[in-house]
């Protein structure tokens, strides 16, 4: 490890200055707007290429400096490889808005150089957001360093290898006092529409009164990355519902505050997409049933139905969506504050997923 990182950083900064000068045409102003530093960590080149496209898309609405780190286990150099680029697009009023991207490639021998180099590249007085896409963050030393550095540390537990293990390790990460408040999980964010749809079924006061008497939940989801039917999405939705209603989980069994068990069952729908919830059915009290099911035809709506005794409410349709990663990121940026629901739901979801795995 003999790289002179200071001169490399200077060279990159000079290269960026040249890029800015090159983008200026005549009298037209180039807006150098910076609302954030975005550090993205990837572990493979394909993902890094996809991410570069997403960064370019984000730059229109969240201009700033992006630092893309590619962790390449096959790279045996003892120095970091770095280069700079800019993404420009037409912003409000036709002005050209540009976003800087610095790409850093690091092999096992040069990883120790990463943290100090990243610190040098950060734009002063702008928040640091890290988007972690390099496997299980809870067990990675670089991830731990970045959680300490970042205002937001964003990951996607839906892309981890096994739901049970990944949610448990994520729960540990969130429990750690130094980073718990700023970890955001895209897998959790992805289900925002479903949480609103389920909540909507209980806006009616008479229906809400039955929430204390839930006896069973059936969740049908698309196949997860691993075997079994417990997707992270399903575990999160059940975890959220339970955490809002004061349930606990013990050996995979959900219990209401009054001690009664809530039967939870997961089903797979092979036709549904990865991490996609297809349907939920909640039974409560004496014969009350609440159901939400995704509409066919590739749309993003769900049909909500409810029946309490013999009275059925008119079905309604609500949009739940299945936003892509870029859209999910913007939602995280739009509301960067602490999500009061997340930690409670994660704790329960981890318990549910672990119990399902054991079963």
């Amino acid at each position: 490890m003999s790289v002179d990182s200071v001169s490399s950083v200077s060279a990159i900064e000079a290269e960026l200055d040249d890029l800015w000068r090159g983008e200026a045409h005549g009298d037209e102003a180039v807006l150098r707007s910076c609302v954030m530093n975005l550090i993205v960590v990837c572990a493979d080149r394909n993902r890094a290429a996809e991410t570069t496209t997403q960064i370019a898309t984000l730059s229109g609405s969240y201009p700033g400096r992006a630092i893309l780190v590619l962790l390449d286990d096959d790279d045996d150099r003892d120095s970091l490889t770095m280069y700079a680029s800019a993404h420009c697009r037409r912003g409000a009023g036709g002005a050209q808005v540009c976003n800087e991207q610095i790409t850093i490639e690091a092999g096992p021998k040069s990883r120790a150089l990463l943290s100090p180099t990243l610190l040098q590249f950060l734009v002063a007085d702008c928040p640091v957001f890290t988007w972690w896409q390099a496997g299980n963050a809870a067990e990675n030393p670089l991830a731990r360093e970045l959680t300490g550095l970042s205002e937001l540390f964003i990951l996607d537990s839906g892309r981890f290898d096994e739901p049970g293990r990944s949610l448990a390790t994520l729960d540990r990460l969130v429990d750690q006092a130094d980073c718990g408040d700023h970890v955001r999980d895209l897998a959790w964010k992805r289900q925002e529409g479903w949480r609103e749809a389920v909540a909507a079924m209980f806006d009616n006061a008479a229906h809400a009164a039955l929430l204390g008497e839930v006896t069973s939940i059936l969740l049908r989801t698309g196949p997860p990355a691993a075997e079994g039917c417990t997707s992270v999405a399903g575990a999160y939705l059940a975890g959220w519902l339970g955490s809002r209603l004061g349930w606990t989980v013990e050996n995979g069994t959900l219990r209401r505050p009054d001690g009664e068990a809530v039967a939870l069952r997961f089903e797979c729908n092979e036709n549904a997409g990865w991490e996609e919830i297809d349907a939920i059915r909640i039974e409560a009290g004496e014969g009350a049933v609440f159901g939400a099911r995704r509409l066919g035809g590739g749309g993003d709506g769900v049909r909500l139905r409810s029946r309490v005794g013999t009275a059925s409410s008119p079905p309604s349709i609500q949009r739940v969506g299945f936003p892509d990663d870029g859209r999910l990121l913007t939602r995280v940026f739009e509301r960067p504050g602490r999500d009061p629901l997340f930690a409670g739901a994660l704790e329960l979801a981890a318990g549910i997923a672990a119990g399902e795995n054991e079963a």
């Binding site: 609405s61 409000a92 009023g93 909540a199 009616n204 006061a205 035809g297 309604s316 949009r319």
Partner: protein, 509 residues
């Protein structure tokens, strides 16, 4: 009344307050406003999951309406005017909740009442009604009276609500506004009356309060000690666009100044409210209107300018003069441009002129508030600086944002000074697409939040101020022709003179 406390699943969600089940009754569903604004707004609220689960829309009109034609035209309107292209499945859901009920004939409103009762049964809307008057103003009072006679103004069983949304203009002067308000308040309580000025639904207008009272650095400078003057411009490049008959009676003063422009002025000049409570904010706005200095009749020509556009070129196309527009009298004296110097006589603003201007067929569509800060007390850099160095400009539309101009040294050995601009643009700092003003206002009305609506005393105070201008302008018996300005220019020379007398100029926009 909301039902959020009853549903523990709502806590922490994007919309913590679930709107109560409700039927929105739109009077004038076949009209332009409903098709261009209201129905697209309802679609987008539905898309964003902001409408209650139990929800219905009832359209009314006096004439016979073919159901299929109405639905097709509403869909076409949504396709054309919605900020999102409607998806079939979500539109069908909205369409399913839509029905029509004519109100013509002696039994019309009783039939409407029965229709609404039936919807309560089938859709579970709980007797909550939001009546939206998207009709010509002349129909406001008759509709409201009829609603009262049919008992539709009264909250139903279980504490349900009956609210009334009224479009501008509320009156054409103080007397007519008072008369209309009296009718509205004889049928609906003031707390249930929502008078719309759609400018208040704009994100950038709402941001004025955040900008002023959410930041520590501006408010200490926001007074007569540091501000030389304020300029507020509402300019439109369009002409009367087929509304000549309406505009002939209104003029730019009634159409824009009495509402949008004075509302902007209130938000700029008001004191910090004690809370974000609707009445706390509106109380402070009313105080600004009450502090506006009256203009004596003998000074009206020095303090105000009126003009009409003559033929010219706008957006590269020749356009006719105002008096050549359809439904406009060739002898018209209706103003299409108005500029004035106003003062807010209170501790904060004593002696600070507010230059207001609004006009049609100006070069571009711009709404902007600019605060010109006072000159430095001692010109250390001599003639290199122009004195009034600092301007804070709040751009409401388009290119929403905020710019701050300050002096900076030009690199080099000489102490040369040049103004530079620090610029914040909404479009490049937030990813979220802002909702249309009508989406926000409709949702607030459904939720029962009246903060962004105009209270009766606000309307009447602003009319009282505008009326005195008309009294001054009427002194010549209506014989003097108005000055003209060429369409596509920034108004008449008299508008420039208004500021030049104070050794000031309008900002170049």
């Amino acid at each position: 009344m909301t039902i959020d406390t009853a549903n523990p699943l709502r806590a922490g969600l994007r919309q913590e307050r679930a709107a109560e089940p409700c039927t929105v009754v739109i009077f004038g569903l076949t009209g332009d406003l409903a098709q261009r604004k209201l129905v697209p707004a309802l679609y987008n609220l539905h898309h964003d999951r902001l409408l209650p689960g139990a929800f219905a829309v009832v359209g009314t009109a006096r004439g016979e309406v073919d159901d299929a034609e109405l639905r097709a035209s509403l869909r076409a309107g949504a396709d054309k005017h919605s900020r999102r292209s409607p998806s079939d499945e979500l539109w069908q859901e909205l369409d399913r909740r839509l029905s029509y009920c004519g109100t013509a004939g002696p039994d019309g409103y009783a039939a409407l009442a029965r229709h609404l009762d039936k919807i309560d049964e089938t859709e579970g809307t709980g007797g909550n009604r939001l009546f939206y008057l998207a009709t010509p103003p002349s129909a406001f009072a008759p509709i409201v009276k009829s609603l009262g006679e049919a008992g539709l103004n009264r909250p139903g069983k279980n504490g349900s609500f009956a609210r009334l949304v009224v479009e501008k203009p509320v009156g054409i002067d103080l007397e007519s506004a008072q008369k209309l308000n009296s009718v509205l308040n004889s049928v609906f309580e003031e707390k249930d009356v929502y008078r719309i000025d759609h400018y208040l639904g704009k994100e950038t207008v709402q941001n004025l309060l955040v900008f002023r009272f959410g930041n520590a650095i501006f408010e200490p400078l926001w007074n007569q000690k540091y501000i030389d003057h304020v300029q507020i411009t509402v300019s439109e490049s369009i002409g009367v666009e087929g509304r000549g008959a309406y505009f002939e009676h209104a003029g730019i003063t009634r159409d824009i100044v009495q509402n949008h422009l004075l509302q902007l002025m209130c938000l700029i000049a008001m004191e910090p409210p004690a809370s974000l409570d609707a009445d706390a904010i509106r109380d402070e706005k009313v105080k600004v209107l009450q502090a506006l200095r009256g203009i004596p009749i003998d000074r009206i020509d020095e303090e105000t300018v009126r003009a009409q556009y003559a033929a010219g070129v706008v957006n590269g196309k020749p356009v006719p003069g105002y008096r050549e527009e359809e439904s406009v009298s060739p002898e018209s004296r209706t103003e299409t441009y108005m500029a004035m110097r106003a003062y807010v006589d209170n501790w904060r603003w004593a002696g600070v002129p507010f230059y207001l201007r609004a006009g049609k067929r100006l070069p571009k569509r711009v709404t902007e508030v600019a605060l010109q800060f006072s000159a430095v007390p001692h010109r250390l850099f001599g003639h290199g600086t122009r004195g009034l160095a600092n301007t804070l400009a709040l751009r409401i539309q388009p290119d929403e944002g905020i710019t701050l101009k300050f002096e900076s040294k030009v690199p080099g050995p000489n102490p040369r000074i040049r103004p530079v601009t620090m610029e914040f643009r909404y479009g490049t700092s937030f990813g979220e697409q802002p909702p249309e003003a009508y989406e926000r206002l409709l949702l607030d009305a459904v939720l029962g939040d009246s903060t962004l609506f105009i209270r009766r005393d606000e309307v009447e105070e602003s009319w009282a101020y505008i009326d005195q201008l008309y009294r001054g302008w009427g002194q010549d018996g209506g014989v003097t022709a108005l000055p003209e300005y060429t369409a596509g220019t920034w108004g008449p020379a008299e508008g420039e003179v208004l500021l030049a007398r104070d050794s000031r100029i309008w900002r170049r926009l």
